[in-house]
């Protein structure tokens, strides 16, 4: 091998320039959207304590703003952070400028346009109703295109590199690109019915399985693997020493991408999902501890003998806490996927605590570390104030602690209260609201933690602006390296695997894709063969046109962000949500649900059996002013449903779309659907009139009541049939 090295050294050195502009642009974007996304997060946190913090507007009500928060933080803050880190490290690891400045620019502005489109469409209620994939179909297409541009630019750079070996960080970037592309495309199959409105291609159980396969792996391959790549680059860079064990990093990489993809079903334990898939999810989730902790230790042990540097450098402090938070959440995750633990954790604020340890600690702190490291470098100066950076570190860490502890407390409290029985077999807290009002102080503390964390971010922004002003931006950095030899012949001692994959990035891409596709396919294929697989229940019928419209309003308002539609097979749940028939949710009940609306968090009660539980007038009053019907409720009022008309023009198109997706409406029913909807609406309106409530049958509230009253009634009507 030494011959080769000599050969390469003897070749003339190329002179080339690293592009700093694109990196700086992404760094600015991640900072700006970090501030915005976290501010929106703070707003939704306050709405738990003061529901009126929605300003009485539909556009700023929780169900619409919560997706805005999650999308802003994941895709805008972390997304831009990924790109900044990749564009910086990839150039240097490949000893090459980015493949194309034009593609870099298109990537940058394309991504910011997508974010803008999301920021407009989500408050308008234009949503697919699938968590973390809420953006509608035109934006989905744009995401796919921009992602491909990113990929072309990345692979172009890798192909023209001047460093033969692909450092492990690049592997993580490649896996990120491939897997996110696959996840996004598979999960976004939807049938457009108009501009900005579509129905998920999948229904019920399939939709849930695909969605959480996506959701889980979005955490894995958008929030984790790219940041691991950044960890493997920036920790050695900042601490000035190589990674603790390169061997371990190889195990970390392959084990992580191999195992992660299988673990998705742990989001659906005890839900109406095949037992087999649930067990698969649990086993792989537990196995995930090994590579995750291997990676965490690898990051932390890199600092062995350099802990004195940690005391001095705020950047390293942020990194240490980030990696520690990665370790904590990747230990917690597998624990939560054990069925017995999941029975307690699922639908509670524990989940919220868990994801925020990851988001605030791992993603947030690693991004801050990157900013503190790169901005002074790119402006050719020193950080304006180490003191302020340290202040940011401590206030941010306090913010994480003040977030996590109250939410853990809230989660355990909820779960214990939901499950507590009296000696006579009745629920101690039969009224769900008691379990909400109990934890409002915890919600207040959580909002306080948000103030702390965000205050830290503002300190950082000030510090970085001062830093930038003190220096001048270095657009390009000159570098020199020898080009790769075209006639390079690997020494016989070099391993076949290296020859096959590591020097051949395209092969590496294909192999990564195959690896993740195997996991995806084995997990998903069985449920695609599902006709024989989800027991159909004869009494489950498609929604009436009015109910379907009401369902779309339910989706638009993001009701799923607080209400589940999934009664798990626990005594405490059937006793609470279906005290008459004691029916938990069956897979067969969701066969016409495009998209599924099982939800993942119960701030309010489950709604799967709410149909027929209350009279129409109760829903009428409740949607108008929840506090009148449930004193102490933190649900916001929905007065606009009483002003806006449900959309009549689009009903035939909706019916046709549903037929395309396999919902058995009679041939030609689209022509009759509107008349049926009008008739049903009039019936509801007349019924309300009897109770002295005047409402125009065209108002959205009527359609929503129709949907709510339908929920879960198919089984109730025919109680025996479901059991045979």
């Amino acid at each position: 091998m030494s011959d080769n090295i000599e050969k390469e050294l003897s070749t003339n050195q190329d002179t080339f320039y690293y592009d700093n502009t694109i990196v700086r642009n992404f760094l600015i974007a991640t900072t700006v959207f970090g501030v915005i996304g976290m501010t929106v997060g703070l707003l939704v946190a306050f709405q738990f304590v003061w529901p009126e913090a929605n300003f009485g507007l539909q556009y700023t009500t929780f169900g619409r703003v919560r997706p805005l928060h999650t999308n802003a933080v994941i895709f805008a803050f972390v997304g831009n952070g990924i790109f900044a880190g990749v564009y910086y490290s990839l150039q240097r690891l490949c000893k090459a400028r980015m493949f194309s400045d034009m593609l870099s620019r298109i990537h940058f502005w394309g991504w910011q346009t997508i974010i803008l489109a999301a920021a407009i469409s989500l408050p308008l209620g234009l949503t697919t109703g699938k968590e973390y994939a809420e953006l509608e179909w035109p934006i989905d297409i744009a995401i796919a295109l921009v992602w491909v541009i990113f990929g072309v630019n990345m692979f172009g750079t890798i192909l023209k590199r001047r460093e033969r070996h692909l450092y492990v960080a690049i592997w993580f970037f490649i896996a990120t690109f491939v897997t996110v592309a696959m996840l996004h495309i598979v999960n976004s199959f939807e049938l457009p019915i108009s501009f900005m409105k579509s129905y998920s291609w999948y229904a019920g159980v399939q939709d849930a399985l695909v969605q959480w396969w996506y959701g889980h792996n979005a955490v894995a391959f958008f929030l984790t693997t790219p940041y691991l790549g950044l960890m493997y680059y920036f920790i050695p860079k900042v601490s000035g020493r190589p990674i603790y064990s390169y061997r371990l990093s190889i195990v970390h990489f392959w084990a992580l991408i191999f195992i992660y993809i299988w673990a998705g079903p742990h989001h659906l334990l005890y839900n109406a999902l095949p037992d087999w898939a649930q067990s698969l999810g649990v086993v792989f989730s537990v196995m995930l501890i090994a590579p995750s902790w291997g990676g965490m230790l690898n990051g932390l042990l890199t600092l062995r003998g350099a802990w004195d540097k940690v005391r001095e450098s705020a950047t390293l402090k942020f990194m240490v806490v980030a990696v520690t938070c990665y370790g904590m959440s990747t230990f917690e995750g597998p624990m939560m996927s054990l069925k017995s633990v999941n029975a307690i954790a699922h639908f509670t604020d524990w989940i919220v605590a868990h994801v925020h340890v990851g988001a605030l600690g791992w993603n947030g702190f690693l991004t801050f570390a990157m900013l503190y490291y790169l901005i002074p470098k790119m402006y050719g100066t020193k950080l304006h104030s180490q003191k302020l950076a340290n202040a940011h570190f401590w206030i941010g860490t306090l913010g994480i602690i003040f977030y996590a502890l109250p939410m853990y407390w809230a989660g355990f409290t909820q779960s214990l209260m939901w499950k507590q029985f009296n000696p006579d077999g009745t629920l101690v807290y039969g009224n769900f609201l008691e379990t909400v009002t109990q934890i409002i102080p915890m919600y207040a503390l959580r909002a306080f933690s948000g103030v702390l964390y965000l205050a830290g971010v503002f300190i950082m922004v000030y510090n970085l602006i001062k830093t930038a002003k003190a220096g001048s931006f270095i657009k390009e950095v000159k570098a020199e390296a020898a080009p790769l030899l075209k006639d390079y012949t690997p020494a016989p001692s070099e391993h076949w695997h290296r020859k096959m994959f590591e020097w051949k990035p395209m092969k590496m891409l294909v192999l990564s894709l195959i690896l993740v596709a195997i996991g995806g396919a084995i997990e998903i294929i069985p449920t695609f063969l599902i006709e024989s697989n989800v027991p159909t229940i004869a009494s489950v019928k498609p929604y009436t046109p009015l109910e379907l419209n009401g369902r779309d309003i339910y989706v638009r308002e993001g009701c799923y962000t607080c209400h589940s539609q999934m009664i798990r097979p626990f005594r405490s749940e059937v006793a609470r949500y279906d005290p008459e028939d004691l029916e938990y949710s069956k897979a067969g009940e969701f066969v016409y649900d495009h998209p599924f609306q099982w939800g993942s968090k119960r701030t309010g009660p489950d709604l799967h059996r709410v149909g027929g539980k209350y009279p129409d007038s109760w829903h009428f009053y409740h949607m108008l002013e929840p506090e009148n019907m449930s004193p102490g409720s933190i649900m916001p009022p929905y007065p606009w449903l009483f002003d806006q008309n449900w959309d009549k023009d689009i009903i035939p198109a909706k019916i046709r779309a549903m037929q395309t997706l396999g919902v058995p409406y009679a041939e030609g029913y689209d022509n009759q659907a509107l008349a049926d909807a009008d008739a049903q609406a009039k019936g509801i309106s007349d019924g309300l009139a009897v109770e002295g409530l005047k409402v125009n049958p065209d108002k959205e509230i009527v359609a929503l009541i129709a949907y709510l009253q339908r929920l879960g009634t198919d089984i109730k009507k025919t109680n025996g049939e479901a059991n045979d």
Partner: protein, 63 residues
Amino acid sequence: MLKFIKHHMETISGIEIFPLISLVIFFVFFVGLTIYLVKADKKLFNKIANIPLDSKESDHEED
């Protein structure tokens, strides 16, 4: 009572093979990975691990 959750998969013929395939894939893959890592050249790994550190940039990349 749990039969609605438990028995979905039994209707697909040959479904029992799925977990078995998974196990075999994993076993082979990780044994292979272990063998590779045990046999791998440590000097080369050290060289690769130093890639982030040996930049030849002309500005103050290193501090």
